[in-house]
Symmetry: C2
DNA sequence: CGTGCGCTTGACTTTTTTCAATAAAGGTGG
DNA sequence: CCACCTTTATTGAAAAAAGTCAAGCGCACG
């Protein structure tokens, strides 16, 4: 099995660190495997540490009173989960669970803070990661403030396509119902809007929950609110 | 005039730091006064430093093609502005300008990074601030994803009332049109919805752009989607 | 004291949600 | 490997919410 130190070194969070800076991190990191269906943490749990995803995907979500999931974020390999509430010294404000079986590393709060204090460059890396995450959140906020559902979907597809750059192909890593909630809409509306995008030739389904963007210009105009769907 | 070192010490960002940790920050901080109508930075400017608000309020906003402002965030005294893109090493993704005349401190990037590297506890404080900001963004995202405009407005009012705790009185620090854009809506809809809240006795106007929450329970039910407005 | 911007209000249109019924898809266990 | 069953996705029609256009009012500010 991959040594912990190599898993840490592979995470963008700790990229650019010398081996002797990663070593103390590896010393405090605990390996955890969590099966799909289990939970990393629940809303309200004290944030006494955070996770780094090694493999699989992890969703962070709220549960509505009726038990429906509202996904706030999906994290992939190399990304930290739950570090923000840990730094703020609060409880976790949401639930986290793997969407597939996942391997993770767990970094306990106090030990991690000690390492940060001893190795400022680790802290700088952490700051950079959180800065990028703020940027993603800001983009999502802008997206949600867009008035019409087609523009929100178009904007989401473009954003994801750029993020997971596999030749303009976007993999939806949640159900359409969850994506609808993510985009501030309903499954029915999402289905209809997506159907229209396909009919207009802007995107083409390429498999299970997978679409390819076939007319990026048109999609971008739509996202910017310059165009309207017929 | 207040010494720079005291202004820094007053910022939550640097709270809990020893005087000898603040001193190097004070050494690199530059005082800047910017009048309402002027700009701190524009979208696309290289992020070569960030600001800390000493007095006044600063808005961070996008400009739509038609020139309309979409406010993303309003910062008050003690809060840092623009530090995230600075850490990410990017350009500013939005504009920033004071809403009133404002006094600020400017911290240049490289000098600040040097201080961080030498004083890890400053970095920890920075991490805590950014963690709190992520939490605010996440709350805003949840709010925007709420389906109906009344629930979004109710949620916003409660959130702001808790933030600026002046006896359940909320001061809107932007025009209603800007608030509407912030809430992903239009001035007309906001006007109507606010009118309904007032008619239902949930809030009462208490002055220019100022409202008092008079039935918090009802507002909370509305925000949670448990109730619907008649 | 005027004037312009911002706010409100009304009538109308468009978009979105809701409800309900059907179809498809995936996972499960035999 | 197949049949079943639960979850997810689509579609239609009607209702509700929100957006648009346009006009008038009022307030804050110069």
């Amino acid at each position: 099995m991959t040594p912990i130190i190599d898993e840490l070194a592979a995470a963008p969070l700790f990229e650019g660190l010398d081996p002797d800076q990663i070593a103390p991190l590896a010393a405090i990191a605990q390996r955890r495997s969590i099966a799909a269906g289990a939970e990393l943490f629940a809303e309200g749990d004290p944030a006494e540490g955070f996770y780094v995803v090694c493999s699989g995907k992890v969703k962070v979500y709220h549960l509505s009173p009726e038990g429906k999931e509202q996904i706030l974020h999906v994290f992939g390999p190399g990304e930290p989960v739950g570090e923000a509430p840990m730094f703020a010294g609060e409880r976790f404000p949401a639930h986290a669970a793997p969407m597939t079986d996942a391997r993770l590393l767990y970094l306990p709060r106090q030990a991690f803070l000690d390492v940060l204090a001893a190795h400022p460059s680790v802290a700088l890396g952490m700051l950079a990661v959180m800065a990028r995450r703020l940027r993603r959140f800001a983009a999502h906020i802008e997206n949600l403030a867009l008035k019409e559902a087609p523009a929100r979907l178009a904007s989401y597809l473009i954003y994801e396509a750029d993020l997971q750059d596999r030749d303009d192909t976007v993999a939806l890593d949640m159900t359409k119902g969850q994506l609808a909630a993510f985009l501030g809409s309903t499954p029915e509306t999402l289905s209809r809007v997506l159907g229209r995008l396909i009919r207009e030739g802007m995107v083409t389904p390429t498999g299970y929950r997978s679409y390819r963007i076939t007319d990026r210009d048109a999609l971008e105009d739509l996202a910017a609110g310059l165009t309207r769907l017929p």
